[in-house]
Subunit: 204 residues, 2 copies
């Protein structure tokens, strides 16, 4: 059985964890993923290396949790529950609301730089890329897939649509514009993506 820490120790732990997350994200931005080390994270966070190894087994593990924490912060800052796509019964409105919050996060420098550094490393380091996609990106995409399945049950999406592919029509264009800087992103842009994806480019 795990010993329950005293309240003071828990608060100290939470402060250390936050300091470690921030140090890890800052180093990935400044040095890049390959040159970020557990030693460097510990030094910058002002903790011993052993403190990090008590909680995590590698720098990839530290960073994974740091990014999960960053995503939760961003969601709460945008005023909605992390890991949820709302279901008000209006599919277009629900998708637009979540995509607008995503745009706000992607243009916030605190979030943009570490996400971009991680994404770049994931393109060349296949193992890291697959791990972060599985643990950070797919759980987000699954929320859209679930919302589309609920819409299918309500008759708002065609029953033969594969939700995992359908969601890409509005998620991937935003991802590509942001990742590759092919064009600006805005609320008007993501609203348009949702309308085009739901109603199609061909005349009805």
């Amino acid at each position: 059985m795990v010993k329950k820490p005293a309240p003071d120790a828990t608060r100290r732990s939470q402060r250390s964890r936050r300091a470690i997350y921030e140090a890890a994200l800052a180093l990935v931005v400044e040095e890049g993923y390959p040159r970020t080390t557990v030693e460097g994270i510990a030094a910058r966070a002002g903790v011993g290396k052993q403190t990090i190894y008590r909680w995590w087994s590698s720098k990839a593990d530290v960073l994974l949790e740091a990014f999960l924490d960053l995503g939760e912060q961003a969601a709460r800052q945008a005023g909605y529950e992390p890991y949820s796509v709302p279901d008000t019964g209006d599919l277009a409105a629900d998708l637009k609301a979540v995509l607008r919050a995503t745009v706000d996060e992607l243009v916030d420098p605190r979030f943009e730089a570490p996400w971009r550094a991680l994404a770049a490393e994931g393109l060349v380091d296949e193992q890291l890329g697959r791990e972060f996609v599985a643990k950070l990106l797919e759980p987000q995409l699954d929320l859209y897939a679930r919302r589309l399945r609920a819409a299918q049950a309500a008759g708002a999406v065609r029953p033969d649509v594969d939700p995992r592919i359908g969601l890409e029509l509005f998620v991937s264009p935003l991802a590509q514009r942001w990742l590759q800087r092919t064009a600006p992103i805005s609320h008007a842009y993501t609203d348009t993506l949702v309308d085009y994806a739901l109603y199609g480019l061909a005349p009805r």
Copy 2:
């Protein structure tokens, strides 16, 4: 007036250019963009550094042309004219044909590794990213935009659709799956993207 070279000299030049392209692409794959140098390219191609500087002003310029050449090779290998999207009057069929050829190119190791190395560097090096997007990616996207405009004139795409956004519904999902390895790509997948993009996820 530029002196016209003798036929032998032209053939020699073309062989040197091809060797330089291949050396540049191989080095980007093996060493990464930041560690690739004009000196390294020259040594690997078996030419003097001056030969490279006679034709190009920087490693970025060499690589830009090497990637343009690679794209042309891939298109010809797939049996179609580079820099074209066919217009047979059947929009869905035309888009599917070009996207199928793109899938074939993206899974070919000769093309995949250098494109991936360049895309990764473009994410972190903003100036390089913007230059390669402007010179390599946007001209390709513009071909889809033109095809969608022709379809608007023929009544196959709604007149209020912005073609530059519309094309992202089938181009960006393929780009994201390939870049971030979020899921497999295939002809069936890109066919599905075209159908979803043209006819929408909502019932008609």
